[in-house]
């Protein structure tokens, strides 16, 4: 397994998700946390970009941060996997290393 990239910025305000995607090799994972979770939903202007990225990357979103923001897991883009903090820990250990894009 390769790298896990974490992204914690809203894609509507910052370019962190773009930067992470640009520097993620094929097979790398992307985990959306904190305000980064807003990238995970269907019906937004960034949804197509996230769907396109799924060809090369597994994309995960932190469920507790989704719930906290009043967003619905039902609207999470198909194929984006919702994880809890235990799942976050598992991803950190399953991938070879972590890059936190701050």
């Amino acid at each position: 397994m390769v790298m896990l990239h974490t992204v914690n910025k809203s894609p509507f305000e910052r370019r962190t998700l773009d930067t992470a995607l640009r520097h993620a090799v094929k097979g790398a994972g992307i985990l959306l946390i904190e305000d980064g979770v807003y990238a995970a939903f269907d019906g937004t202007v960034v949804a197509e970009k996230v769907k396109a990225a799924m060809a090369d990357h597994k994309i995960y979103v932190l469920g507790p941060d989704v719930a906290a923001r009043g967003m619905s897991e039902q609207n999470v883009i198909d194929g984006v996997q919702v994880v809890d903090y235990g799942g976050f820990v598992d991803l950190v250990t399953e991938y070879d290393k972590v890059q936190s894009w701050l």
């Binding site: 235990g86 976050f88 820990v89």
Partner: protein, 130 residues
């Protein structure tokens, strides 16, 4: 696995400290070892015992202290970042000629070398910040 955590933002201002606490709890629950939690930049403000959040809010520093007591966590506040921001332990207060200290129980102040060592000794380093 052996994990270390870097916290780069102060409590309350940014979610990073809360995220780090939840991650730490989950990692311990999964049976992983937390080698060290290192506090840098404004993250050093996690280590003051003088903060008094409203009673209906969480007390982030107290949460760290409780975790440290329960799991023997090594909570290290960067000395250079701490000096800038007025976080002092007894030794540092004496060394700098200050009239008191404010480090919270369970935290210790040490050098950036502790962060590098955490990177060398741990299987993974996870960073929480802005």
């Amino acid at each position: 696995m052996k994990l270390s955590i870097l916290v780069n933002e102060g409590p309350y201002q940014h979610q990073s400290a809360d995220s780090a606490i939840q991650f730490t709890k989950a990692a311990l629950a999964r049976g992983h070892e937390i080698f060290r939690v290192f506090f840098y930049h404004d993250g050093v403000n996690n280590g003051t015992r003088f903060a008094v959040p409203p009673q209906d809010d969480r007390n982030i520093t107290a949460q760290w202290t409780a975790l440290a007591e329960e799991h023997n966590l090594d909570l290290v506040v960067c000395i250079a970042a701490a000096q800038r921001r007025g976080i002092l332990d007894e030794n540092e207060a004496k060394r700098q000629g200050k009239d008191g200290n404010n480090i919270a129980p369970g935290f210790r102040i040490s050098g950036l070398g502790q962060l590098i060592e955490a990177g060398i000794q741990s299987d993974r380093l996870v960073i929480f910040g802005d």
